[in-house]
């Protein structure tokens, strides 16, 4: 049976050879088509990656612009000039529990504790500075005057 398969001839050519050649041509064709298709896919992937890269660069640029526009000093200036806003007074700060008091028209926080009385002599800003005494005995480079405050 197998010997017949190898010995059978068509128009003088071994049929098995003709079949093998046909299979070879089909395989070559399929490989070629697959390669062409894969090439298209690779180009598409490369194009998409390039696009992602470009978009990534644009996003970074936009992020930098946002950061530039969100400079705290700029926001504060705009809030002040455009919206008329200003720093919040400590007396107007409150938490969630103080909302009922705010709704009732009261100050959101409790009273500020009375400052501890301060003696008048505690903070005297003296302009005249006593310096090192007995300068005749001082070294060539005198030491600092003891003015620490």
């Amino acid at each position: 049976m197998i010997a017949a398969l190898f010995n059978h001839r068509t128009r003088g050519f071994r049929t098995i050879n003709i079949l093998a050649f046909a299979v070879l041509v089909v395989i070559a064709l399929v490989v070629n088509l697959a390669k062409a298709y894969a090439g298209r896919e690779v180009r598409e992937i490369a194009r998409t990656e390039r696009k992602i890269n470009e978009e990534g660069k644009r996003i970074r640029l936009l992020k930098a612009e946002v950061a530039h526009l969100e400079q705290p000093e700029r926001l504060q200036r705009l809030a002040k000039t455009v919206l008329g806003m200003g720093p919040l007074s400590p007396m107007r700060e409150g938490d969630i529990n103080s909302l009922p008091a705010v709704a009732a028209g009261q100050t959101p926080t409790g009273p500020v504790p009375t400052p501890t009385p301060v003696s008048d002599t505690a903070l005297e800003e003296v302009s005249a500075v006593p310096v090192v005494a007995d300068l005749n005995d001082a070294p060539a480079v005198p030491g600092p005057s003891e003015t620490g405050q």
Binding site: R60, A64, H68, P113, V141, G143
Partner: protein, 577 residues
């Protein structure tokens, strides 16, 4: 008989074996023919060729496996060598962008390829911001391809590219951009056009920035831009009022060592760093030494308490100046009475502090200074940090001076680190410009006891309640602190000047609660303030109070209006009669 058999004793065994094997191979064909088996001849030849190629490919395969597995190639995720400009973004602790690499484009013009000069000029001038006709003419009049304009954004580049102008080409040029401009410029630093870090985090964190580029992760700094902005604005306000030569502001987390804000004036814009002088670019918080003055009294008092030399009820006679050899130590606020330890601190008595230091002794005081990091350069990621200037001879004279902050020069960073140690429970936590992970617990060396730390928090609060630091108080935030006014050495008169001073205020908030309570250190320093007021209590303390007022909410420190009343009597002490 083989070749090796000819001289069995002259060569080692392995050599003889190899020669023998070669001899056999060489004569295999002859043997095959001689034995009448010519097919063996062909087989042997095939075998040899196969063996040769097997060895060859084996070596190639082995080399490939070695390169892939052990050579370190691909360590950077397939990027064999990174360009110098490859740097990760820098962000603040909340993710706000501080430094970023952006691709810009340089437009090149080749006069030889330009067909229509006037049309090209018209098109380029209309679409290229900042391009002048004179520059276009200059490039066109030349013979070579030259840069016409740099720093084009992708949008502008695309709009010009779409014109399809002959002779116009583009090249990518990555640039380091600092979107916040001058904000925190001294801490962030800057890099040169080739990507090399020159100053600040850009220089100190080069490794981290490179690793971050590879892993596509930003490097997170410890600073908070909101707090930084508040600090810079208040510092600028103080500068506008007192016109100092320079100013420094610093806020640190005393438990983690994180630098939350760092400002140095004059400021500069890192996007145009080359336009500024070296003096303007100098980070005075880390690279300039100051004689801090009375803020150092906090160290002396803490050491006195920690060694047991002093207690809250200890007394010091400040009725008369202290004579030490050639010199006499006076008090700035002359009380002319006997003071308790708390009063020595609150009235900033030089006499009392010097007497306390003499009681502590040179050896003990110096060993504490060493442990507090006041005698060495702070270990920090920043490159530009200065080493302190300490007394050459640690004698009693130096001891007295150092006790109230003279005769020793340190950077504001070193002061902040040492103060943090006194106030965080007594352990040395190194400062950092990198954000610490949540719940960070570093290995910290104990310097003073927890009791000493608690006492210092109380004493510093007392100084704000009724001492020289009253102007730093902020409602409901329990601020504590110490003023400092140090005179500067004037080379012109070869002596210390009583008109050129360094005024500072070192604060901590909040001072109440357990030792583990989140706490922050704030320092504002003005170098040579002018005008009538030049003391830390008048110049720096008000700015510190405003900074704390504005920053507390960002730092998560609650403002408590109903704090228990501060026991000032405990700080004043009860001197034995």
């Amino acid at each position: 008989m083989t070749v090796s058999n000819l001289s069995p004793h002259r060569y080692p065994r392995i050599v003889r074996w190899a020669v023998d094997w070669l001899w056999r191979v060489e004569h295999a064909f002859e043997r095959a023919k001689a034995s009448g088996r010519p097919e063996d001849d062909a087989r042997i030849r095939i075998l040899l060729v196969l063996a040769f190629f097997a060895v060859l490919f084996g070596l190639i395969a082995g080399g490939a496996v070695f390169s892939a597995a052990f050579s370190g190639a691909g360590k950077h995720h397939g990027v064999m060598s990174l360009p110098a400009t490859a740097k990760a973004d820098l962000v603040d602790r909340n993710g706000e962008l501080l430094a970023v690499n952006l691709v810009h484009y340089s437009l090149f013009l080749d006069p030889a390829d330009v067909w229509n000069r006037s049309e090209t000029r018209k098109a380029l001038l209309s679409r290229t911001p900042g391009l002048k006709a004179s520059k276009f003419n200059e490039v066109m009049d030349g013979r070579k391809r030259r840069v016409l304009v740099e720093g084009l954004t992708p949008d502008v580049r695309q709009s010009i590219h779409e014109l399809g102008l002959p002779g116009v080409t583009f090249e990518e040029s990555p640039r380091r951009i600092y979107p916040m401009g001058p904000l925190a410029a001294h801490l962030i630093g800057f890099a040169d056009p080739w990507g090399k870090g020159i100053q600040g985090a850009e220089r100190g964190l080069q490794e981290q920035l490179r690793d971050g580029y590879v892993s596509n992760e930003p490097v997170v700094l410890s600073i908070d831009v909101r707090v930084q902005a508040a600090l810079e604005e208040e510092l600028a306000g103080a500068v506008a009022e007192f016109h100092p030569k320079a100013a420094v502001g610093l806020i640190t987390n005393i438990h983690t060592g994180e630098i939350i804000a760092m400002a140095s004036l004059p400021e500069f814009d890192p996007n145009r760093a080359s336009k500024y002088s070296e003096d303007e670019r100098k980070n005075r918080a880390s690279a300039q030494l100051f004689e801090m003055g009375s803020t150092f009294k906090a160290f002396t008092v803490a050491i006195g308490l920690d060694t047991g030399v002093a207690g809250m009820d200890s007394t010091y006679d400040a009725r008369t100046p202290l004579k030490m050899g050639y010199r006499t130590i006076h008090d700035y606020h002359g009380t002319k009475r006997i003071l308790t330890l708390g009063e020595v601190f609150n009235h900033s008595s030089n006499i009392g502090t010097a007497k306390l230091a003499l009681g502590i002794g040179v050896d003990r005081l110096k060993s504490y200074y060493d442990a507090l990091g006041l005698t060495r350069r702070p270990r920090l990621e920043l490159f530009e940090t200065a080493s302190p200037l300490t007394p050459r001879d640690w004698n009693d004279d130096a001891l007295a001076s150092v006790s109230f902050g003279h005769g020793i020069n340190v950077t504001p960073l070193a002061l902040a680190q040492a103060m943090g140690c006194l106030l965080n429970g007594g352990t040395m936590v190194p400062l950092t410009i990198l954000k610490r992970p949540m719940g960070y617990q570093g290995e910290a060396q104990r310097v003073v006891s927890e009791d000493t730390s608690r006492a210092m928090l109380r004493i510093m609060r007392g100084n704000v309640v009724e001492g020289t630091g009253r102007k730093a108080d902020a409602i409901g935030l329990s601020v504590g602190g110490k003023t400092g006014t140090g005179e500067k050495y004037d080379p012109a008169i070869k002596a210390y000047s009583n008109t050129r001073q360094v005024a500072s205020f070192a604060a901590v908030f909040p001072t109440d609660g357990p030792l583990e309570t989140p706490r922050y250190f704030v320092l504002i320093l003005l170098d040579e303030p002018t005008g009538g007021a030049r003391t830390g209590g008048l110049v720096a303390a008000p700015a510190v109070g405003r900074v704390i007022d504005r920053s507390a909410r960002f730092l998560g420190v609650p403002r408590q209006m109903q704090r228990p009343e501060f026991d000032i009597a405990a700080v004043r002490g009860r001197p034995a009669l």
